[in-house]
């Protein structure tokens, strides 16, 4: 009788354990992408500030802003709208760049939040929130400056 009870309890525990382990694995495998717009902003800069920091010390800036698993820092960048275009994925791309800078910040808006970018015009000063993907640098093969890249952006203020 006692033995039967022990077996019963052990089996119950085992089943519960398996369910818990299974849920963890299932969650790990299906974990959602980070919601950039609902996450806290890590740093706020002007487009000139982040470009200058990257051009002065690319290694240090990568260390500071890029994440090993790709969940890099969330930035709010304010700047002057220099270019508006669309990429192959029908996403809106806005370049924030001062005339006096060699590079700017290229911001891609996801389709769901494109709407916030629709009213923007060239020459306006806006603030954009997004995740940084790579920094600004001069590339000797392209023979040009590359922009800071931000994606999953939305306009936080005009």
């Amino acid at each position: 009788m006692k033995r039967k009870k022990i077996i019963q309890i052990s089996l119950t525990l085992l089943v519960l354990g398996l369910i818990a382990a299974g849920s963890i694995v299932y969650y790990q495998f299906n974990q959602p992408h980070r919601n950039i717009q609902e996450s806290k902003t890590d740093f706020s800069f002007s487009s000139s500030q982040i470009v200058k920091e990257y051009l002065a010390n690319p290694e240090g800036a990568n260390e500071k802003y890029l994440d090993e698993e790709g969940n890099s820092k969330i930035l709010e960048i304010s700047g002057i709208v220099a270019e508006i275009s669309e990429d192959f994925n029908k996403q809106k791309v806005i370049l924030l760049k001062s005339v006096s800078d060699n590079a700017g910040v290229s911001c891609t808006f996801t389709p769901e939040i494109n709407v916030s970018a629709n009213q923007i015009k060239i020459g306006e000063t806006i603030t954009v929130k997004g995740v940084i993907r790579s920094g600004a640098s001069y590339d000797k093969d392209l023979e040009m400056y590359e922009n800071v890249i931000m994606e999953k952006c939305s306009v936080v203020s005009k």
Partner: protein, 184 residues
Amino acid sequence: MRNSIVKIVSVLVLLVATTTSFAQKVVSQKTSISFFSHTPIEDIKSSNFKSVSTLDTSTGDVVFSVPMQSFEFEKELMQKHFNSSDFLDTKKEPKSKLVGKITNLSQVNFKKDGTYNAEVSGELTIKGTTKTISEKATIIVKGSTIILKSKFYIVLADYGIAFKKGKPSTNIAKIIEVTVEAEY
């Protein structure tokens, strides 16, 4: 004798000057780079729309700079694996690069609308490892727009990319199909 040297030199100078004045580099910020991995267990695909490319129509020089963290995956876990130090180590190596040249430039007429088959050879650098590649590409000239398309395969082990154990080592193909498109 001296006269002919002067002549040769002036011809050379003229040649260099003409070539330089014809040098025409076009830039593309509208690009798409995708890859596809097939194993019996699962298919994985990912796309990147943030690469920058230049094409020099007079020399055939082609350059692509690819920000690695811009590859988007359907599943967050895949994206984490892709970026991690075990796989592409994108924090240390944020960009991949192709520095190539169209080797059959005489068969591509950038001034005339049409579709041309191009051969591109060059150096591909992924995760800090550089390999020589030679691939076919299609160039479409339409008015002032040039479109370059290519599909080729890369062996991950060539670039030191491999998961030693666990799920990713069985679920990711050893050879990956890469599709490139750029509009200049």
